[in-house]
Each structure stands twice: as C-alpha cells, then as structure tokens.
Amino acid sequence: MSDAEESPTFEPAAPNTGDEFEPVDVFPDSDDFDLRPGADSCYKCSTCDTNCPVAEVDDDFPGPKFQGPEQWRLKQTDDDYTVDDSIMSCSNCMRCDNACPSGVPLSQMHNTARGEYVSEQMDTLSVEYVRNRILANYRTSAFLASKVPRLANVAMNFGPARWLMEKTLGVTRERDFPEFATQTFREWWADRGGADASRRNARERRERRGEPTDGEKKVAYFHGCYSNYNTPEVGKAMVRVYEHFGYEVVAPEQRCSGTPMFANGMLADARRHAEVNVSSMSDLVEEGYDAVASCTSCSMALRQEYPELFDIDGIEEVAANTFEALEYLRINEDLTGAVREAEVSGDLAREFAYHAPCHARNQGLDRQAVELFRDLEGAGIEDVGESCSGISGTYGWKEEKYEKSMEIGEEMFEHMAHAEGEVGMTECPTCAMQMEHGSGYEIRHPLELLEAALVE
C-alpha cells in the first residue's frame, strides 16, 4: 500500500510553519517521491543558506535553498530533468531543516535528489561511487574487521595502506580509522544471557524500586553499528542504565540505520537495511516495546528519514515509537532527580566539553546532556557551542572534503580548547571521531557517565 492511497491530500495547511509534509508516491511501490509541493512553503528568506556549514566553507556549493526548494520546483518528473551534481557536496547534517522558519522539507529533498542522482546519473564504475559505497556500507567492513579486530586495527591504519586508499579510493589518510573492539556488543550480550538475563535483572530492580514486578517496562535497543563494533561500552552502559530503572532490554536483529547511505545517495542499500530494521522493530512495537537508540543519527533515521523516504509496512508506528536513550528516560523516569542525588567518582569524575550533534539538534535534544549533568556531583559539563563538528559521518572521510570538514570544525575545536574539561562528550560516534581528531581528547558518551553515576 502506498502513501498515496492512505492520504489523498497533501496537507501543509496554510500558513504551515513546521507542519507535517506528506509526499505522494509518484508510482506505487517505488521510492520516487515528487517533492515539488514541498517548495510551496519556501519564501526564499535564505535563512537555510546562512545556517549551512558546508556553504560557509565551500564556495562551489550553492546551498540548501538551491538544492532543495529551488531545484525541486525547477525539476519535472520526466527522467530527463537531471539533478545537479552539487547535491553530492551536501553533508546531510540537516541543519537547514532546523533553520527553515517555514517548514520546508529540506533534508528530505536533498536525500531524495541525491538518491536520484546516484542511481541515475552517477557512473557506478567511478572511483567516487565505489569509495562512497564503501564508506556508506561501513557495517559490512566493520563486520569483517570484527572477525579479526586486532589485525584490522593494525592493518587499517598501516601507513602505506592508507596512502594507497587515498590515492585509489579518495579516503583521506589524515584520519585514523576507529579501533575495533575485541568483543562486540552483541557477543557480550549473548555471553551475558541475552533477553532472558535482562528480564531477570529488570524484575529484580523493579522489586527493589518498589514497582510492580509484572510492569510493562520494555525497550528494544537499536545499538547501531558503531556501539556494536567499536564502542561496546556505550551499549553496555545503555543496558545497565535501563535495567537500573527496571526496563527489560531486547536487542533485536538489526542492520545499519542507513545514515551514511542517505548521505551518499545509496537509497537502495538504505532501503534494504531499513526493511530489516523496520520489520524487527515493528513486531516489537506491536508487543508494546519502544525503540531506543544510543546514537542520535540512528534515532533520527528511524523516526524521520525512514517515513520520509520509504514506504514500508509499519514504518509510521516504528517512527512514532522511537526515542533516543537519554530522551526516553527523561520522559519516563525522574532522571533529573536521580542524577541530582548521585555522585560520580573515579575515572569519569571529570570536566566534560560537550558537543551537541546536528542530528540531536534536529530532534530537540541539543541541551539534554548539559541540563542533566550540570547537577551531577563530581563531574562538570560545558557546551562547546552550536557549530557543526564538520565530519557529518562520511563527509569528512572523503579526501576532497577533508580540508573543508576541518574548516567547519574549527569553531568547535577552538571552543573545546577554551573549555575547562579535557575530556569530550557527545552522543554521535562520528562527531566523536572529529572531536578526538581535532583536540586529541578522549571522547565519552552521556550513557557512560550516567552508568558511572547511577549504577553501582
């Protein structure tokens, strides 16, 4: 069933600031959306352009106003109206979405145009395509590397190999590849006893907290690739914190959220992964689970990009029931109260320089870590400002974008240097890479601090 059949009318009520935009499939069962109607909301104020971090440093990039409403309005549905190649310079940070005062579905327009560009106009034998495809399918590389993590860690950052990758694939050798964990999150999870163990732990906690033991507190954890392969400590922290509040956690079958694929216009890849994710999540949502992600780009993908770009059974329900990990606890538990009473000592009793990822900003989550931890005894937190980190997932890994990525990040690096703390904090794994790369600081996830504060 298509969107078109579900909702006959396009409804940006006039005036429609921030209203939902519902595209109609051009053809049922395809992902070709006609986004021209989205241009109706644009009144050309250029606020999006002034907020685009790429346009600021890249003079050849025409900016979101052109990429989005202008290009779509000038386009027609016939195949021979092409998409301008500058769409490949957009990093998909989605800041323009947030900046627009008029509810123009900018990132949806960029994502769709990019998908069309890649599938119809890009040479699939070109180095750029191959490189982008490899970067976008990080999960595949990570899956292989995790089989031999120690070897992979050495090999991936081995000088001559990196030189070769830059020359032949255009992957910058300025950056170090992230380290692979010797035990993935899922391996740990299975060793620990999986969902059964979590149910027991949660029951026990509920009893201790004086809550009904048969209570319906259950979440499906979307860990994403990064906390599985690279930072399992984030995943572990999530499980322990949630169990602490009496939640049973399950870790359903899942693939990549699709974030790097959207950014590279690989919509067919993204769709394949999304189908798996939606199918396993929607079954659980039907059983009363909520989906919780520890990565803000993953939660963004599930709750916004999926329903905007794909038409998969159950996608709306999954989107409506997806949350970011801190956000969910702030809604459902007295997290502030718990943190206020807690004290942290040891390794994480530090001052943190916190950066809010762009995708957290889009979900209205940019202040949550700061608001939460400023009351925590033993640790301090300082916001390093609202600039973009500049890496935007795969963008900063491209050889030709590296300099621009660092130029965008400059403001954040400067603020980090001025901040009191010498440990960084952020929810997004690629922002973390950029923060580490630019400052040399170690970077932690808010869930890790929460675990240190709350879980004995």
């Binding site: 006959p8 940006p12 009144y43 092409t82 190649d85």
Partner: protein
C-alpha cells in the same frame, strides 16, 4: 504593381504578430503597431493551452478541426514555445456517461487522436488526481508560452523587414475620400525600442492597407471611422499555482462549465476559467470569489489544490464575435471561430479589414487567411510559408545538453534556460563574462536578461515576458532590483528607477488575489525587504533624478572632508 504595398497591422497580440510575420515573409512592407508591450492584450492573459480540439469536439466541431490541424503545425514550427504535455478529459462518477461517449465520438469525427484510459491508469499518469475518478480520455493537448511565441513571430517579421512599434497607440484612422489610408499613432517614448523618459510624439503612418487585429478592442478602432464592429468581450479568470501539481493538461469531461481545466505551464500550473460578458475590455471587476471558485471546483479533480500555494491570479477578455443575426445570450454559446470583416464589402469603406474572434491556437491559420485576403487586394500571388518555416528559436535544437560544460550552469538552471531559448541558447548563453543567476525561482541568468534587454530596451516587463524573470514564487521580491541593476550602464539611473517601479507595480497587481497562506508571508517578507533595504516605503529621492554628484565623500579620520582613502565599507570603529 510597381511598388511594394505597405500594410499597417494594428495589435501586437498573437493575431497581429502572426499576420505581420506572414505578410513580411510574402515580401510586403509591414508596420506592426501595439499600444503596450507585445502580448499586452488578451494574448498575455490567456491560459496557455495548445488546444487539441478536444474541448470543442462536441459543441463546435469546425473549431475543433482547426485546432488539431494547427496543434500539429505549432509543435513543429514553434517547438521551443510548446510543451507536449498531453491532456486528459477526466470523468468523475457524477459526470454524465453520455457526454463522455459524445466527447469520444466528437474527437473521432474531428480527427483528434483520443483514447480511453481507466481511472487507475489516469492516476498512474497523474498521481494527484482524486482517488475516485472514473476514467478519462487522453488527447494531444499541450502547453504553449504565448509570450515566447509572439516575440518569436515579431522577431521573424522583423528579420523579414517589418517595422515593429510597441508602446505606440493608434489614436485615429486616416480617412480620405471615403477610404482608410493610414493611422495616427501616439508613441509613448519615440519610435523604435522603448526607453523610459524618451520624448514621445504623434506620427501619421500612411498605409496602402490596414489590418485591424486589436481583438477585444476592435470595436474601438472601428469607431474611429464610424464602423460598427460588435465584439462581445467576455472575461475569464486564471489562478497560478506555485508548482505543477499535474504534468498533463487536466480537463473536466463535462459540457461547458466554469473552472474545468488545469494547464501545467513552465514551473507552474494554471487553473481556469470563467466566461462572463463585460462592457469594457480594460475596465471590469476582478473578484475574489472567482478565484475561490477555481480552487474549490478544481479540487474535485485534484484535491491537493485546496491546500496548495497560489502565487497570483489574472483575468483576460476573449474577443468573441458573432454575426449580428445569431444573437446568443450566453457568451459560452458564442462560436470560437474567427471572422474577416472586409469593411469595403460590409460597410462600403475600403482600405481596412478587421479580424475578430478565434483562438490563440489558430493564430497562424488566421494570419494565413487574412494575408491571402490582403494579397488578393493587391493581386500578389505569394504562397504562405508560415506553416513550414520554424520560428526563430525553434530551428533544430535539443534540451539535453551538458549544461555545466557548455554554459557553466547548474543543470536545472541550464535546462530551463535552454528550453526558453531553444536554438538561440548557444548564442545567448555562451559568454566569457560572469553569468550569475538573477532570478532564482525561474533559473534566469544575466546572459539571458541582457539578451532580452537588447531586444526590448529599458522595459523590464518586456524582459520579464521574454525570460520569466520575476514570475516565480517570490514574484520579484528577491530579484526585481537585480533586474533593474542589469539596465545600468546602458541606461541612466532615472530610466532604471522608472522601469523598476513599473515592474514592481505589475508584479503586485496580480498578487492581490493570492494574499493568504504562503503568498501572504511572501508579500510580507517582500515588503519588509523592499522597505528596509530599498526605501520602497518612502523614497526621499522618488520622482526627481538623484544628483549623485552632490554627495560628498564623507568625513575622513582626520576630521577633514574625505579624500580617496575614505572607507566605503562603513569603516571600522575608532577609525
């Protein structure tokens, strides 16, 4: 005959421009006189439908047959003005089955290729059609840009030696010994290209023959020689949507009715229309309920229109004519056919023929018939070539180019530019100079604007109709001043100011009927931009030329009067 006859053609709409081209191609001396811009009259205020004839296939089969013939010709000779969108006559469940069948039969009778498609197929072609549409008839309707077409006809006439005078109003017919021998003309700004502020004047133009192609104004020209030409002007409203909700012409398959057609036009879709007789072709009420009716009624076919953004509305008057003995009371019953009124045969006044009625789609055929008629008067035996020779811009061309490589333009901008310029694209767009986009909504670059200025002088509305600049969603809010700026160097600042004022006035006029929702936000933004950055709310320099020489250089940092090192960027604090 010894010397070449000189023909004065009155009216620079599609009919007049078509006649001028035809006569000039047959070797006659032609002067075309138009009181405003080209397309100032009905031609600039029509729906843009290249009729397949389907609309008249039941009620007026003679017109329908002419339409399909000319439809085929124009696809060929005016390919850069025509987009073959195809058209559908859509039947809703409540519409009459008998009429649907009659329409299908009518199309067959008139030689209009027509095919029945199911509701589902129609929705696959046009996903925004209402879910419950029954079925449809597909016909070869198209979209045509009247501005480009008329400009190309005039340009071709000019290439064949015609004199084209715009902003030149015919104020009298010269009658000597009971014969019309010429016209008296008032030039708004001197003959030739229009330049604001140039002294105007009257001119007597003697002609061997006069052709009155002033459409709804034909009666007024007749009055000048006491000839009674009973044109019955009938108004119709059209509402422009910001985007194309449909890429096919959508007609309601019903006997005549208001608000029954949507025509995709360039980046927009145009809803229409009504048919209501008016007294005066220049002064008639424009009412909001007419616009509301377009949107309400047509949303029965395309529901999303109800919430979609409109950018403006405009009205046009049909130059309908029927022979005095018919006496229709309802204007929709008046034939869409055209008539040649030879005033010698009809009124005993030689020297002029009027052409009245007709349609845009059949303009060329009208031109051919009247040119035959005029040539007959002078015993000239020249064949008509307008059906075979492409218009300037429509010679062989392709819109599929590498826009970046060839013109340094981003693809959607290059694509739209090449569509507008047709075979003139290389000549206009290949430039060594910087070529920024001037109008972002429609993707119009400086090179195209400069080309239009070369054709039409300081008149920015004439630049607008040639390029579509200011015709997008901001309606000139963001680009009017940039366009005005393009006039500078060639034209002095007071000329630029007048041209700019005139453009803003024109743009504002049509938006008055679209002021709710998004277009209201747009108008508010335009207002504050223009007021705060361009003194548009109260310009102290308004009216008089500004004496720039009277400005001093400011004060330099030593406190003396400024020299060459005065900061022109506002300076730095403490300087």
């Amino acid at each position: 005959m010894a010397s070449t006859p000189h023909i004065a053609v009155l009216g620079g709409g599609s009919t007049g421009a078509g006649i001028a081209r035809d006569l000039a191609m047959r070797g006659l001396d032609v002067t075309l006189l138009e009181q405003g811009n080209l397309t100032h009259g009905t031609t600039g205020r029509m729906h843009g439908l290249l009729h397949s004839g389907g609309r008249y296939a039941v009620s007026d089969q003679a017109s329908a047959t002419e339409c399909i013939e000319e439809n085929r010709v124009l696809r060929d000779i005016a390919s850069h003005c025509v987009e073959m969108t195809g058209g559908l006559f859509v039947k809703r469940p409540e519409d009459s089955e008998a009429y649907f069948e009659a329409k299908l039969q009518g199309c067959a009778d008139c030689g209009i290729p027509a095919e029945v498609v199911s509701g589902e197929e129609a929705r696959a072609m046009e996903p925004h059609l209402a879910k419950d549409v029954d079925k449809a008839i597909s016909v070869p309707d198209g979209a045509v840009d009247p501005f480009r077409l008329v400009v190309a006809n005039a340009a071709s006439a000019q290439e064949h030696g015609a004199r084209i005078e715009t902003h030149s109003k015919v104020t009298d017919l010269l009658v000597e010994d009971g014969e019309i021998v010429g016209v008296e003309v008032e030039h708004a700004s001197g003959p030739g290209k229009r330049v604001h502020g140039t002294e105007g004047g009257t001119e007597e133009i003697r002609a061997d023959y006069v052709v009155n192609a002033t459409g709804a104004w034909a009666g007024r020209i007749g009055d000048m020689a006491d000839l009674d030409i009973a044109v019955r002007p009938s108004k119709g409203v059209m509402t422009i949507m910001n985007i194309r909700q449909v890429d096919t012409v959508i007609n309601r398959c019903k006997p005549k009715g208001d608000a029954d057609i949507i025509v995709p036009h360039e980046t927009t879709a145009i809803l229409g229309t009504t048919d209501e007789e008016v007294e005066d072709p220049e002064d008639y009420p424009e009412e909001q309920w007419e616009v509301d009716m377009m949107i309400d009624t047509l949303s029965e076919l395309v529901p999303m229109l109800q919430e979609a953004r409109t950018i403006r509305s405009f009205w046009g008057v049909r130059p309908l004519y029927e022979p005095p003995d018919v006496g229709s009371t309802d204007p929709t019953d008046i034939t869409r056919d055209f008539f040649l009124l030879d005033h010698e045969d009809r009124d005993g006044m030689p020297g002029m023929t009027s052409i009245v009625g007709g349609k845009f789609t059949t303009y060329r055929m009208m031109g051919e018939q009247i040119s035959d008629h005029v040539c007959g008067k002078f015993g000239i035996d020249a064949t008509c070539r307008t059906a075979a020779e492409p218009l300037p811009g429509s010679e062989d061309f392709s819109v599929l180019r590498d826009y970046m490589d060839e013109f340094g333009l981003r693809s959607p901008i290059g694509r739209r530019s090449v569509e507008r310029l047709g075979s003139r694209a290389d000549e206009v767009l290949q430039t060594d100079r910087p070529n920024p986009t001037v109008c972002e909504c429609e993707g119009v670059t400086r090179a195209e604007v400069q080309d239009a200025i070369t054709q039409s002088g300081s008149d920015l509305n004439a630049v607008r109709i040639r390029t579509r600049a200011t015709m997008g969603n901001c309606q000139g809010g963001i680009c009017s001043h940039r366009l005005a700026n393009e006039l500078h160097r060639e034209y002095d600042q007071h000329v630029v100011r007048q041209a700019w004022d005139e453009l803003l006035q024109e743009r504002w006029k049509g938006q008055r009927h679209a002021l709710w929702g998004e277009q209201l936000s747009q108008a508010a933004l335009n207002y504050s931009l223009h007021a705060t950055t361009q003194n548009r709310d109260h310009d102290p320099a308004d009216g008089d030329p500004v004496d720039f020489a009277a400005f001093d250089d400011g004060v330099d940092h030593t406190g003396g009067s400024g020299g060459a090192d005065v900061a022109a960027d506002g300076g730095r604090h403490g300087d």
